[in-house]
Symmetry: C3
Subunit: 349 residues, 3 copies
C-alpha cells in the first residue's frame, strides 16, 4: 500500500463557483468560473476545494488557505481567494457539502431488487431501500427516508420522513422513529431488556413486551443498544443526540436535546431531563432521575438522583466543586501523613 | 411526526377472555366474552389489554387499572374488572404474551429463499432461517431454532433446539450453542482473541484456534463480543445471562447462572464461579478467579482474585465494607485537613 | 444438549506427520506416519493433535502431553512423542494451523452470486466476496483480500491486498484500508463523528466530511467504532492493534504499533504516539496528546496530555508511582483518622 491521501473519487464531481452560487445563493467576489471539485476545512483545504469561515477567529486562516474559494459573511474581503459572500456561511457550506459528499448510500431512490419486504409494508414517496435490507409486515416508512443495505426493520414499526438508517442496523418490531432521525451502523433498537425473576437460583426471563419510541431529530451513533420497555416504551425525546456504543436500558426516558457521549450507560427506568449531558463512559444506576441541564463528567458513576443544573464528577459521583476539592486533598495526602508523623514525633520529645 | 403511542399493529389480534382461558387454563370471574387485543402491565394497561397481578403488593392497582381483564391468584376478587384466576398468574400471562406478541421474526418456519446454506448443513424439524441469513458448511441446527434475517453462522457450528438468534448476529466457525439459547442482534461470538507476540516492537498475531462453547439456557444481549479461545474454548455455562455491550475475552469461563450487566468486561483466561454478578461497567483483569456468588459493584475494577461470597466495590476493587468506610473517610478529608491545621496552630502558640 | 467438546468438523482433515514436514520443513524424530487431525496447545492436546513448544519453560509439558506429535527446536528430545524439529517452532506451527483451521470464510475465492457490486468496482486477483456482501461504486479491493458475508463496503473505498473483513462489518464511503488489515465482525468504520453546533438550545449537526485512513498490518476487533474525520481523516497507523468494543472518535490519530484493549475510548482529535498501550476500559478526553510508549492502565481516565514513556493510572490519571502511593495512603486513612483522634484526646487531657 502506498499511503496516500487521495480518495478514490477525487475529482468525480466538479462545479464552477458561479454554479455553486446558483445552488446556495450569495454574491461572488473574484473569479466566478474557478472550478471546485471538493469541500474541506479552511486549514485542510487544497486547490480545487471550497471552504468556509463563519467565525471571526478563523478569519486569519483566509490569508493562508489553499482553498480555491471560500464562503464568508458579507463584510469579508480577500486579495487572493475568490469569495462567496452570504448571510449564513455555515448553512450555505452545509448545502455545498451535500452536493460533493452525497453520503455513500448504495441505493438513493427506490427499492433494490434484493431487498425483502413483508406484507402490508407502506413506503412513502422517494423512499430508498438498499440491497438485502429486510422490512417486516405492516411497517410504515415516511417520505424520502433511506433504509440502507443489510439493515433489518422488524414488523409493525413506524419510521417518519427524511430519516436515514445506515447499513447493518437492527430495528426490532413495533419501534417508532420520528422524522429526520439518523441511526448509524451496527445499532440495535428494541432488543429485549435485561430482566429475570430468579426462582430457586435459576433466572427466568421476564417477557419484554414494550417498545421503543424515538422522537424527531434524534441522532443515534454506531453500535448503540436501546432496549425495548418491559411493558411501556423506552423513550428518546426530540433532538437528543447519542454517540457510539452507548447503552440505554429498558424503560429509560431521555429528555429533549440530551447529549450522551460514547460508551456511557443508563440502567433501567432511569429518567433524564432536558439538555442533560453524559460525558464519555459515564454510568447511571437504575430508577433514578437527573434534572434538566445536569452534566455528568467523563467516567463518573451516578448512584442517586441529581437535581437540575448540577454538574457531577467521580465514582461515586458528587457535585463537581465538592469532588474537585476532595481530589485536591487526596493529592495532598502525602503531605498530611508526613506532617502528622512529624507532629507526633515532636510531641513525643 | 405526530407523537402517538398507537402501535402500527394495534388491534391486529383479538381474543375473547374465554378463548384465553381455553389457551392457558384458569377460572373466569366476570364477563367471559370481553374482547382482548393486547397485553400490558397493570399500571400501563388500557381498554382492550389483559394484565396480571402475581404479587400481593400490586393488588391495589386492581382498583384503578384500565385493563379489560386481569389474571390473578385464585383468592382475588374485583367488582369492576373481569378476572382470570389461576394458580400461577405470571406463567399464564407469559403464555398470553406469546400469543399477542409473536416476537417479530420475519421468518417463523422454513428457510427463506434468499438464505444461503453451505454443504452438509443439517436443520432440525421446524427450524426457521430468515432472509439473507448465511449458514456455513456442516453446521447443525436443532429443532425449532430460529436464525433471523442477515445473520451469519459460520461452518462447523452446532446450535441446539428451541434457540433464537436475532438479526445481524455473527457466529463464527466451530461455535457450539446449547438448547434454549437466545442471542440478540449485533452480537459477535467466536471472534479472534486479542493475542500478539511482540518481536522487535512489532506485534505478531497469535493464531486463535479454539472455539466458544455456550451451554443451555444462556441469554446474550445485543452487541456483545465473545472471543474464541486461543487453543481451548471460551465457556459460558448453563443459565448465565449476559447484557448488552459486554466483552468476554479468550479462554474466559463464566459459571452457571452468572449475571453480567451491560458494558462489563472480562479479560483473558479469567474464571467466574456460579451465580457471580458483574454490575454495569465493571472490569476484570485477566488470569484471575472469582468464587461462587461474588458480586462486583457497578464500575468496579477488579485487579486480583476474589474469594466466594464477597461483594467488591471501587477502583481498585475492595470488599464493600472496607471500600465504603474509605469513601466515607475521603468525604471527611476537608474536616481532617482543617482540624489538623487548627491543632498545629494551637500547638504553635 | 449433551455438552461435549467434539467439534462438528473433528477429523475432517487428516495428514501424516511426514506430510506436515513437507509443508513446513524440519526434521522428524520418531514415527513419521502418525496421523494428525488437528492442532492444539501443549496442555490441551489430545490424541490426533499436533502441538508445539517454542519456549523452554513449556518443555516439562512435553513429558505429559497427549499430542500425537510436537513441533520443537532442534535440540529437543522425547522418548514418547514424535517430534518435528525446526529452527522456528512457532512459525512452523502457525503454518500448520492455517491448514487445519482454514478460517471459516463462507466464500474463499470469487464473488458469491448474491453479492451486490456497484459501478466501477475493481477487484484484484484472488479476491473473495461473500454472500450478500455489498460493495459501493468505484471501490477498489486489492489481491487476495476477503470480504465476508453480509458486509457493507461503501462507495469510493480502497482496501489493500491480503486483507480480511469478517461478516457483518460496515465500512463507510471513502475509507482507505492498507494491506494485511483484519477487521472483525460488527465493526463500523467511517461513521459520522459526534459534532453539533448548539444554536438556541438545539443541536445542529456539523457535517462530517472527512474519512478514515488505516495503514498496513492493523487489526481491528469486533464491534469497534471508528468515526470519520470532520474534514481531515481519522488515522490508524501501521501495525496498531485494536481490541473489541473500542471507540475512536473523529480526527483521532493512533500511532504505529499501538495496542488498544477492549472497551477503551478515545475522544475527538486526541493523538497517540508510537507503541502506546491503552488497557481495558481506559478513557481519554479530546484534544490531548500521548507521547510514545505511554501506558494507560485499566479503567484510567486521562484528562490531560501525557509525556512519552510514562505509565498513568487512576481517575483522574496520574503517573503510576504517584497514584499507587495515593492509593496506599487512602487505604491507611482509617489509621490516620484514629491516630489523629487519639492525639487530640491526649492533648486535651
Amino acid at each position: 500500500m502506498t499511503p496516500t491521501q487521495k480518495r478514490a473519487d477525487e475529482g468525480v464531481r466538479s462545479l464552477k463557483l458561479k454554479e455553486i452560487a446558483d445552488l446556495v445563493g450569495g454574491e461572488i467576489v473574484g473569479q466566478a468560473d474557478v472550478p471546485i471539485t471538493g469541500v474541506a476545512g479552511i486549514k485542510e483545504a487544497k486547490k480545487g476545494d471550497i471552504s468556509f469561515v463563519s467565525n471571526a477567529k478563523y478569519l486569519p486562516f483566509l490569508l493562508e488557505t489553499q482553498a480555491s474559494a471560500v464562503i464568508t459573511a458579507p463584510d469579508v474581503t480577500s486579495d487572493r481567494t475568490p469569495l462567496l459572500r452570504t448571510a449564513n456561511p455555515s448553512q450555505a457550506f452545509t448545502k455545498v457539502i451535500s452536493f460533493f459528499k452525497p453520503g455513500g448510500a448504495y441505493q438513493t431512490e427506490g427499492v433494490h431488487p434484493t431487498a425483502v419486504l413483508g406484507k402490508g409494508v407502506t413506503l412513502g414517496r422517494g423512499v430508498a431501500v438498499g440491497p438485502h435490507a429486510v422490512i417486516g409486515d405492516r411497517t410504515v416508512i415516511g417520505d424520502r427516508t433511506v433504509i440502507e443495505a443489510n439493515t433489518f426493520v422488524g414488523p409493525s414499526c413506524r419510521i417518519g420522513s427524511d430519516s436515514r438508517v445506515y447499513p447493518n442496523v437492527t430495528i426490532r418490531e413495533e419501534t417508532v422513529l420520528g422524522d429526520r432521525v439518523i441511526v448509524h451502523s451496527g445499532t440495535v433498537i428494541g432488543s429485549d431488556g435485561f430482566g429475570y425473576d430468579t426462582v430457586a437460583g435459576v433466572h427466568v426471563k421476564i417477557p419484554q413486551t414494550g417498545s421503543v419510541f424515538i422522537e424527531d431529530d434524534v441522532e443515534i451513533g454506531a453500535n448503540v443498544c436501546i432496549d425495548r420497555g418491559r411493558f411501556q416504551r423506552t423513550w428518546i425525546k426530540k433532538g437528543a443526540k447519542i454517540d457510539n456504543l452507548v447503552q440505554i436500558a429498558h424503560n429509560v426516558v431521555i429528555g429533549e436535546n440530551a447529549l450522551l457521549v460514547s460508551q456511557s450507560g443508563i440502567s433501567g427506568s432511569t429518567e433524564l431531563g432536558k439538555n442533560v449531558v453524559l460525558a464519555g463512559q459515564a454510568g447511571l444506576v437504575g430508577h433514578i432521575t437527573l434534572g434538566d441541564n445536569v452534566i455528568v463528567c467523563a467516567g463518573a458513576g451516578v448512584t442517586k438522583s441529581v437535581p437540575a443544573d448540577t454538574i457531577v464528577l467521580g465514582q461515586p459521583a458528587k457535585p463537581i466543586g465538592e469532588q474537585k476539592r476532595l481530589f485536591a486533598l487526596i493529592a495532598r495526602l502525602p503531605d498530611l501523613f508526613r506532617d502528622f508523623a512529624d507532629l507526633k514525633k515532636k510531641l513525643e520529645k
